[in-house]
Symmetry: D2
Subunit: 83 residues, 4 copies
Amino acid sequence: MMAVGGIASDVLKQFIERIERLEQEKREISENIKDLFAEAKSGGFEPKIMKQVIRARKMKKEELAEEDALLETYKRAIGLIIE
Amino acid sequence: MMAVGGIASDVLKQFIERIERLEQEKREISENIKDLFAEAKSGGFEPKIMKQVIRARKMKKEELAEEDALLETYKRAIGLIIE
Amino acid sequence: MMAVGGIASDVLKQFIERIERLEQEKREISENIKDLFAEAKSGGFEPKIMKQVIRARKMKKEELAEEDALLETYKRAIGLIIE
Amino acid sequence: MMAVGGIASDVLKQFIERIERLEQEKREISENIKDLFAEAKSGGFEPKIMKQVIRARKMKKEELAEEDALLETYKRAIGLIIE
């Protein structure tokens, strides 16, 4: 074990390099996601709405229906819905 | 003008202190917003839905109606809506 | 108390408007902070370094000295310091 | 091609599912990074300092040396360094 200033430098370096590789992988995946949204957009889809659908798909259908109903009620109460 | 290492330290300090005061003000406002959501929650309102209403109020009513309609269409297309 | 769909709409509206005002205040302060950094930059200061100083000023001097020493050790261990 | 409300629902679903898989991969990598920092911490390393080293490794050595020197000058000018 190599040590610098009492630090196991080779062990530290391994951790750092493994974390850097994973962070690089994350950046590449983020790029792929961005490309997919761009591809969808050029296919006529709306990324902003797709993101809301992806968020909604993380919820149980009943929960989603409840949230939608409550949002509708709040919007009506605040006068946000064009009658 | 006081200088340290060629840096006008008093001018630098003034900038730093003014920015720190503004950042502190921002933190206090964030706390007030958190308190208001907590107060609304104890009054029976749902902060998560309130945030969606606040987001919606930043949009023109037509834009909002259009977005809601498109979201409904996407949800139906993906089978997210309980018929 | 006005009610829409069982919701006290006037109470909800008050909460929403108070939160919107506070969020607006926060945005204005963020703009002021941005302007100050821009002003400092035109005065020859480096915003990126100023931000590190502001972060450092939140720490006790001993804590800061300790962190600086440890960072120096890690950098040396990883070969980041030009000898 | 299946259509719902004029939307090619099967195409939309494919985009959504591909994006969801990539987002799931990202979450898993974030977990792995968190685990590595935790493992390093239990090995006696400081994640907060490791993150500063990772940030520094993204910079050219000369740039890093320049930034360190300027930060030292600012800290001295503001009285942050215990003489």
